[in-house]
């Protein structure tokens, strides 16, 4: 509400008495009611009729992470068989991990048992609140190795290197990522083996909406791909509902994907996604929930292929986490159950 002289005023009605909050008296001003909550929201959200402040937009999520919140509920790490992980921190920067997995993979009627033991080492060097260097190595019992190095040059620029090495040279993959974080945009350049080049970019357009795209060139196959993305996130302070995030993604390979996640309260959130492949005309919709019950986290999902899944994590006070995983594909009559324990993080 604006006064005749353009000064901002707010009138508070308190017990039938009108009180002008500003120090000056303005003639011909309109009188309206603003609750204290609306005044606070206006101050924070800037929703005062002047529109968003385009010079101070928030930094958006990275292109590869726009669906992260939705996929935390929709795609838990389901597994079949036994899983046992131990993480031993030797000091606050260095940790070793041992992991045992015994299970089976394959379609019903064509199962193959798969078991592996994994050794890992993690090193984190921090300066203040920022991780400067993160180095991770994992080696499996079948001689496959994965290595990851992340180096933050400064607050805006970081370099990542990722390699999956096997004894078979055709399955070896190496990739470098260069990330730049601007005030209201994020950009990434990717270079990989087999002449793989990719670039992606996300820009905040308003306080809630960010748009972006990516381009990929696969040198060995002489193919290029393009993608467009949009992400809409509501601010939890301005709206009394919980956080809501909607994303849309379109890829030139023939894929359209939309996700939506809403946090109903501190303990429960719901998510859904829709994926349509226009090359073969297949579409899948799934709905999931994520429920935090004291020290337990339960995630469940059902989709239009009649596949239901559930994942339970129960944390005990001694640092032990108990895992249960179930995936039931009723259409193909394929049922997978998993049991696991994790000690440490």
């Amino acid at each position: 509400m604006m006064g005749a002289r353009g000064e901002r005023e707010s009138l508070h009605q308190e017990k039938g008495r009108e009180r002008v909050c500003s120090g000056s008296v303005t003639m011909g001003a309109a009188i309206s009611y603003c609750s204290p909550q609306e005044v606070l929201n206006t101050a924070i959200c800037g929703d005062d009729g002047n529109g968003p402040d385009y010079m101070h937009l928030p930094c958006p999520a990275k292109y590869n992470e726009i669906t992260r919140e939705a996929y935390m509920s929709l795609k838990p790490e389901l597994f079949e068989g036994l899983r046992f992980d131990i993480t031993r921190p030797l000091n606050n920067k260095f940790a070793l991990s041992n992991s045992l997995f015994m299970g089976s993979v394959g379609l019903p009627g064509n199962r193959q048992s798969k078991a592996h033991f994994e050794l890992g080492a993690d090193l984190v060097d921090q300066k203040g609140k920022m991780d400067i260097v993160l180095v991770m190595g994992r080696v499996l019992s079948d001689a496959r190795m994965s290595a990851r190095v992340k180096y933050d040059v400064n607050e805006r620029f970081s370099i990542k290197a990722d390699a999956q090495l096997t004894n078979d040279p055709h399955f070896t993959v190496g990739m470098f990522n260069f990330d730049y974080k601007g005030n209201d945009y994020q950009a990434q350049l990717t270079m990989g083996n087999n002449a793989y080049y990719g670039v992606n970019y996300m820009q905040s357009v308003t306080r809630t909406l960010s748009l972006g795209g990516e381009g990929i060139w696969l040198g060995r196959e002489r193919k290029s791909n393009m993608g467009l993305a949009a992400r809409f996130k509501t601010d939890t302070v301005c709206h009394n509902n919980g956080m809501q995030i909607a994303t849309g993604l379109m890829k030139s390979e023939g894929l359209i994907s939309c996700t939506y996640v809403q946090k109903l309260s501190d303990k429960i959130s719901v998510a859904s996604d829709f994926v349509y492949n226009w090359e073969n005309g297949e579409a899948i919709t799934s709905v999931a929930y994520d429920y935090l019950i004291r020290q337990c986290r339960l995630r469940g999902r059902i989709d239009t292929n009649l596949c239901t899944a559930a994942y339970l994590e129960e944390k005990f006070s001694s640092g032990l986490t108990f895992l249960l995983s179930a995936e039931l594909d009723h259409r193909r009559k394929d049922y997978k159950f998993g049991f696991g324990m994790t000690i440490g993080d």
Partner: protein, 56 residues
Amino acid sequence: MAKVEPVGKNKMLKEWPTWVLKKAKTATHYGFIPLIIFIGMNTDPKPQLSQLLSPV
């Protein structure tokens, strides 16, 4: 048309990046995790060798 094989110096010049990448891949495959352990054992506070080898 028969493919002409590069000879002598030309052959080495064209094939050295592949040779370097192969050696780097083998070095990373065997040496990356020992390198992380070596650097980690020298960070502060310095952990003991018994902590590295014990399963607890």
